[in-house]
């Protein structure tokens, strides 16, 4: 239905260039798209509208959380995403969609897994900072750094 193509904009490194076309065949299935956001979230939905800033309107969106080999889908409904938060956007091949080594689990399970993973990461981070402090070094955390 809507097909996209991306390239880097030459003037501004931040905005995406894409060209929008229609699938002239009206009887085709809609195309699912996968969007990766700047905060790391993965959204999957039918892309209904897009504009020059890559603001997106996603229909029947599902937020997919990946932990290890498992993933879980949280249905979210309609999403309107501001273009500056989009990292990449791609079309999902419906035939190949089920052809994945990943295993789908329930929402509760995946959220639990995610929490566990976050905890483990935090602990290892803490240990690292501790070790560095003992040596008199300090690495500034990424979130306290300036963006540029």
């Amino acid at each position: 239905m809507l097909s996209f193509e991306f390239g880097l904009c030459i003037n501004c490194n931040q905005c995406l260039i894409f060209s929008v076309t229609t699938n002239a065949d009206l009887t085709s299935l809609p195309e699912k798209h996968l969007v990766l956001l700047r905060d790391g979230r993965t959204l999957i939905g039918y892309l209904r509208s897009i504009d020059q800033f890559a603001n997106l309107v996603l229909h029947q969106t599902v937020e997919r959380i990946h932990v290890g080999k498992k993933y879980g889908d949280i249905p979210r409904g309609i999403f309107v995403v501001r273009g500056e938060n989009v990292v990449l956007l791609g079309e999902i091949d419906l035939e190949k969609e089920s052809d994945t080594p990943l295993q789908q689990v329930s929402i509760e399970e995946i959220l639990e897994e995610q929490r566990v993973e976050q905890q483990a990461k935090q602990e290892s981070e803490k240990l690292k900072v501790q070790a560095l402090k003992e040596r008199g070094l300090s690495i500034p955390r990424a979130d306290t750094l300036d963006e540029y």
Binding site: I10, S19, T22
Partner: protein, 715 residues
């Protein structure tokens, strides 16, 4: 008081002529003095103008809405459009059109509400919730509560929808919430098809309402054509609507199950559907606009993308054809029904027009007169790819992969003559500062400091800064020079000599920058050069500049490097960037004459011109040997010397005392140095063994052999 009786059918706005407003205002002022009872006597329905004048503003909105509704009922045009059957007999009837009077709609409101259809709630909000008009006239109007702000369809904002646009009706039967939402299964849910009133206001309908007209594929702009047909064909379309709706019902409805707690209503028997296929089908054909096989403009797409699109279109067309061509009327029809079930009713929410507009904006950004300047990395990347594919083609395999790139529009840059902004009505020209036209805002005076004031640290810092600036300037020259080849190819014949001149000049400038600006005939100090070489970027830059320099200039650079090598090695300890110089150095060495090679070795060994008694340990050389770069460079020099000796002009070198002296010096040092301290060179030239054999005896040769691993295979 009320001079003119305005007919009720005229809209409120038109009742005021321009010159009347003063009169009306006066009348208003007069009226306010009158007792309240006088108002009640008036016939509210007739003199609308007076009513409006005689009441406070807060009732104004209320009266306005009342006015509008009254107009509808009394408007002969509207009344004619109402069905002949009295309104009371159409509580759930499908025959009422959207243009029925509000009274009709209000009657119908009741049964409809139980099914909680959003489009009805629209109307519910659009009309104030009141009983028949007639009863109200008697009441005191000031006591009535204000209707909702958006109640008037004519004036004010569009009606508030209780349920947001896009929510599906509750009738959708959702078998299981946990089902994968995005892949609606073609479950045959037959929702009871009640009358659905498309919004009277919208040109753009929500997809829910779009599906009322069975051609769900229609874009909103085509709604206008169909609206006239809503009335009569609705009955016959009823079952077809069901079918058409099922597919779209599944997808949006199941997604929104969370919002609606209503259990799905029972489905009518499926037999109803099968009875009517042919009839609504024909209707469909009439109603649905001819599916436009419009071919979108795909020229701006990436060629691979275009191919994919066409392929997909072909596939779908083939599928569709095969489905329709299956034997049996019924079977064929049902499969086409299934086809429709799978159709996406939300497709083409973006009009082709809008998509083109977005594409146009994007393509505009790609326009450039000098793609190499604007889009350097993209261009270079594809050049590299082309080179690789050309190389592959040379092998005779033919083009393996089609590496096509996006063809961006090449537009000539228009000269924009800057016209300063002019204000109308101003005396003279106001100076406005902008990006194109900057104006001096502050009078800043540059004061240069005297030499005495500067401290040593500042001097050092300034010197370093100056070096950095020199590096930057030289680098830009270098980039320009590197670019000349491409420009040469693109330029016309006449321009080429000029280009060559420019290039030469730039190369000279670069060299001057490297060595310090013409300090006279002799270049007494390497200081400038050494400073540059201390900085990582400077070393890289020298490596890139070397190929462009003439032989003498390059040799000069080499000498300077060799002369100061220990110092540079010390400075390079952290970076280890000196190694990048090896390759250009070796290229230069290849062309050097013997005399230069000798002096080079001399520099490396740091011997003064005249031969003196050899020091017990040559620190300079020792340092060189312990460093990877130094050792590699030494090997290169030695190797070159050996080459020269082997060649015809080698006799010259043989006779050179200095060379012999240097060689013995070198070998001595090599023997002396412990193996552990010896650096690992980048590569060991193969002719070193033969070189050393000339100057040392067999025993020492063996030692050297093992130490330096001169023979291949001993690792």
């Amino acid at each position: 008081m009320s001079g003119t009786k305005v007919p009720a059918s005229l809209p409120f706005c038109g009742s005021f002529a321009d010159d009347d407003w003063q009169e009306a205002h006066e009348r208003l002022a007069e009226l306010e003095d009158k007792p309240a009872t006088a108002r009640e006597l008036e016939d509210g329905a007739v003199s609308d103008e007076m009513d409006l004048l005689g009441h406070h503003e807060e009732n104004l909105a209320e009266r306005l809405s009342k006015l509008v509704i009254e107009n509808e009922l009394e408007d002969p045009a509207i009344m004619q459009a109402v069905q002949t059957q009295p309104p009371m007999q159409q509580p759930g009837g499908l025959n009422s059109s959207i243009w029925d009077g509000s009274a009709v709609l209000r009657r119908i409101r009741g049964p409809l509400l139980t099914q909680e259809m959003p489009s009805v709630s629209v109307l519910e909000y659009a009309m104030p919730q009141r009983p028949l008009q007639g009863q109200e006239d008697e009441r005191d109007l000031s006591e009535r509560a204000l209707p909702r702000r958006s109640s008037s369809p004519v004036i004010g904002s569009p009606p508030v929808r209780a349920v947001p646009i896009g929510t599906p009706p509750k009738q959708a039967a959702v078998p299981n919430f946990n089902q994968q939402i995005l892949c609606p299964k073609p479950v045959h849910i037959r929702a009871p098809m009640q009358q659905r009133y498309p919004s009277p206001y919208g040109e753009r309908m929500s997809p829910n309402q779009l599906c009322n007209v069975p051609a769900g594929r229609m874009s909103p702009s085509q709604f206008a054509r169909v609206s006239g047909l809503v009335g009569s064909p609705l009955t016959s379309m009823n079952p077809k609507l069901l079918q058409g709706r099922v597919g779209q019902m599944m997808s949006p409805a199941s997604g929104f199950r969370a919002f609606f707690g209503a259990p799905p209503p029972s489905a009518p028997p499926p037999s109803q559907q099968q009875q009517h296929p042919p009839c609504p089908g024909s209707h469909l054909q009439n109603l649905r606009p001819h599916p436009q096989m419009f071919r979108p403009d795909t020229t701006h797409l990436h060629p691979q993308h275009r191919r994919l699109l066409h392929q997909r279109q072909q596939q779908n067309r083939n599928q569709h054809r095969s489905l329709n061509g299956s034997a049996g009327d019924r079977a064929g029809h049902r499969s086409s029904q299934q086809e429709q079930l799978r159709k996406d009713p939300y497709a083409n929410l973006m009009l082709q027009r809008e998509k083109d507009w977005v594409s146009k904006i994007q393509m505009m950004q790609l326009q450039s007169t000098d793609p190499y300047l604007d889009d350097f990395y993209y261009q270079n990347y594809f050049q590299k790819l082309e080179k690789v594919s050309a190389a592959e083609e040379m092998h005779g395999d033919g083009p393996k992969k089609e590496r096509t790139k996006l063809i961006t529009p090449q537009v000539a840059k228009l000269e924009h003559a800057y016209k300063p902004v002019q204000f109308e009505g101003s005396l003279g020209k106001l100076t406005v500062s902008s990006v194109n036209n900057p104006r001096k805002m502050i009078d800043a005076v540059v004061t240069s400091r005297s030499e005495d004031d500067e401290t040593k640290e500042k001097q050092v810092r300034d010197k370093r800064r100056q070096t950095l600036v020199t590096i930057e300037k030289t680098y830009s020259l270098l980039l320009d020079v590197e670019d000349y080849e491409r420009r040469y190819l693109l330029s016309l014949e006449g321009e080429r000599p000029a280009l060559m001149e420019e290039r030469k000049q730039k190369i000279c400038d670069m060299y001057d920058n490297l060595r310090g600006k013409t300090p006279g005939q002799e270049r007494p100090s390497d200081d400038h050069f050494v400073q540059i070489m201390c900085i990582r970027k400077g070393k890289r830059m020298v490596a890139r500049i070397l190929p462009f320099l003439s032989m003498e200039q390059a040799a000069d650079i080499l000498m300077a490097t060799a002369r100061n090598l220990p110092f540079l090695i010390k400075k390079d300890a952290q970076d280890e960037v000196l190694l990048c110089l090896l390759r250009p150095f070796s290229l230069v060495l290849y062309h050097l004459p013997s005399g230069t090679v000798t002096s080079l070795l001399q520099q490396l060994a740091n011997l003064p011109q005249s031969v003196t008694a050899p020091a017990p340990a040559n620190l300079h050389l020792a340092a060189v040997l312990q460093n990877k770069f130094g050792l590699s460079l030494l090997y290169l020099v030695l190797s070159r010397g050996e080459e020269l000796q082997n060649s015809n002009a080698g006799t010259e070198l043989m006779q050179d005392n200095q060379w012999t002296e240097l060689m013995s010096m070198t070998t001595r040092e090599l023997l002396r140095i412990p193996e552990a301290a010896l650096a690992k060179p980048v590569s060991t030239p193969s002719n070193l063994l033969s070189l050393f054999s000339r100057y040392v005896d067999q025993q020492k040769l063996n030692v050297l052999e093992t130490k330096l691993q001169l023979v291949q295979g001993i690792r």
